[in-house]
């Protein structure tokens, strides 16, 4: 039973193309050039309860559009959406009462008043029972230290503090699903770490299903066993993080420190990628070359002082994907 189901989603935006200069501006008024952008082009995926997925992709790929359709803000052009068995466009109020949403680039807190006042407002809007409200606030205090911030006007909070406030306000009503759209954007390492810890804890303690979009691959690496990669409105990868990385960036790199390099060293299926005065880098694919045999062959020809094998990381894999798109 999936908690989120999206089938063949399509969404188009019409953008008026403006030409530069005054002449272009005038032309734009009388004969606007319209371009249709396929923001989502046949997007399908589903999620199980309690899952965390990382939705990643370059700017303008369709991540936010996907979230906005799943949360009922936007109407899809075609396709079907089900969130907890309900259509978020038709049963909007019912769906949104059971989800929490944080847009990292947009605040849902009231700018001029103290943070706690916004929480009180959400308590009334969502009709949260006192017990649940207090318990959630307690939990949030232990995870994010929110009580220290509660009397400060939102505009005086730092970005990291405000983001904590945003996140708390999205989970006060114990949502079943939490949508986090770039929650770590612009935050320092400590603040990022806090938020990651929070995401992990709330997923474990409350079995909250979480969709996370981010440009920070550290977020993905630490939090998301499953990755959905979207580019130009299409889902191009969907699966376990390790498998995606392995498939897209199968090359490992062996780095050798030696007294005297051998520039013409060859070994089947391997490639010398760089060679300096006393260092060599050789890339190889672990499917058809074993590292120990490669090292053995090398040590027969040069004296190895030190070596290290660099595993491919998610950055390499993502670069690969974005490059293709």
């Amino acid at each position: 039973m999936s908690i989120i189901k999206a089938v063949h989603l399509r969404k188009r935006f019409i953008v008026k193309k403006k030409e530069p200069g005054l002449k272009g501006a005038l032309k734009g008024i009388f004969a606007p050039k319209k371009i249709i952008i396929n923001a989502l082009d046949d997007v399908s995926f589903s999620m199980k309860k309690g899952e965390i997925i990382g939705l990643i992709g370059p700017n303008g790929a369709g991540k936010s559009t996907t979230i906005k359709i799943l949360t009922g803000i936007l109407q899809p052009l075609s396709g079907e959406v089900e969130v907890m068995g309900l259509n978020p466009q038709k049963k909007r109020a019912e769906v949104v009462s059971r989800i929490g949403v944080v847009f990292g680039q947009r605040s849902q807190l009231y700018w001029d008043i103290r943070l706690g006042e916004s929480f009180e407002l959400f308590r009334r809007i969502y009709r949260i029972p006192d017990e649940e409200y207090n318990a959630n606030l307690e939990l949030m205090d232990s995870l994010l230290g929110i009580r220290r911030l509660i009397d400060i006007p939102v505009r005086q909070l730092s970005l990291g503090q405000r983001m904590r406030g945003e996140i708390v306000s999205a989970v006060l009503h114990s949502p079943d699903i939490l949508f986090l759209d770039e929650p770590t954007i612009g935050l320092d390492i400590q603040a990022k770490r806090n938020i990651r810890k929070f995401i992990r804890e709330i997923n474990q303690k409350k079995k909250t299903t979480i969709i996370l979009t981010t440009h920070d691959l550290g977020d993905v690496q630490e939090l998301c066993p499953r990755l959905v990669v979207i580019n130009k409105g299409k889902i191009i990868e969907d699966g376990a993080l390790d498998a995606i990385v392995h498939r897209l960036a199968p090359e490992r790199i062996l780095q050798i420190d030696t007294d005297k390099v051998k520039k013409d060293f060859t070994y089947p299926h391997c490639k010398m990628i760089k060679c300096e005065e006393n260092k060599m880098w050789i890339s190889f694919n672990r499917e058809n070359v074993s590292a120990s045999k490669l090292i053995a062959a090398l040590s027969a020809e040069v004296r190895i002082n030190d070596l290290q094998v660099k595993e491919p990381d998610i950055e390499d894999a993502i670069e690969q994907i974005y490059g293709e798109g």
Binding site: I73, S97, R106
Partner: protein, 257 residues
């Protein structure tokens, strides 16, 4: 609602400016009517006190409109900035959330001169305030407020379909809602009266109700009681505008992020 009130008190200087200038503007309009009516003795069958009644009613409905429905002034701004994202995420009627978020305490500054002018006119006119008259007045206030709100709602909701800037539409709409209620409709040419009665029903905000209270004739000899008419037209026009707003919300495009 309390939040909106608290936000307002965070900026006392701004509040002071409004407190000084809005009443000046309102009383200035009254002064203009005074000058006109003393220069020309009467216009379109209106005495100065009749005009004050008419003008006061216009300001009171304007005040009620800006107290309760100020949000509709910002519809297209909010569309352009993707602010409806947030509103659509609350488990409540989006129009209600939209309205309640900018409950506008400053509206009291708008309404107070209106109440003063209106009360002054009532005292001078020696109107008989029986139960029927009071009910009529309530109907007129509700109707007039709804008509004003409807006009701004429709203009604002155009922003869901086209990118528009507030300045332009609000200028147009303000012209409509303010200037057309600053002078009684029957001083305008017939064609304009038709438009401002049947197409954009601003005539029902204050011209027709004032004529009803004054016992004057109206241009179109509308058979139903004019005050009751205002309420009915107000409700109908508001519902029409609400339908348009909901229709617009379905076309909401949000913004990139």
């Amino acid at each position: 609602m309390r939040c909106a009130v608290q936000s307002w008190f965070e900026y006392p200087l701004e509040m002071l400016c409004w407190i000084i200038f809005i009443p000046l503007y309102s009383f200035g309009g009254l002064l203009l009517l005074k000058v006109i009516s003393t220069q020309f003795s009467e216009i379109g069958g209106w005495t100065f006190h009749g005009l004050a009644f008419f003008y006061g009613l216009g300001i009171v409905t304007h005040g009620l409109h800006v107290i309760f429905f100020f949000a509709v002034w910002h519809t297209n701004y909010m569309v352009l900035n993707g602010e409806f994202d947030r509103i659509l995420l609350y488990p409540m009627n989006p129009f209600f959330m939209f309205i309640i978020q900018s409950f506008n305490i400053a509206g009291y500054i708008d309404i107070t001169p209106g109440i003063i002018i209106f009360t002054y006119a009532c005292l001078k006119l020696n109107l008989d305030w029986n139960a029927v008259a009071i009910l009529k007045l309530i109907a007129v206030l509700i109707g007039g407020t709804l008509i004003r709100t409807g006009i701004f709602m429709i203009a604002g909701a155009i922003g869901f379909f086209r990118d528009t800037r507030n300045a332009v539409t609000n200028f147009m709409v303000d012209f409509l809602a303010y200037n057309t209620t600053a002078f009684p409709l029957n001083i305008y040419p017939y064609g304009i009266q038709v438009i401002l009665t049947f197409l954009i029903p601003v005539g029902f905000i204050n011209t027709y109700p004032a004529q009803d209270f004054m016992g004057m004739d109206n241009t179109f000899s509308i058979p139903i009681n004019l005050s009751l008419c205002t309420l009915l037209v107000g409700i109908a026009f508001f519902l029409l505008a609400y339908g348009f707003f909901r229709f617009g919300l379905k076309h909401y495009k949000s913004t990139g992020s």
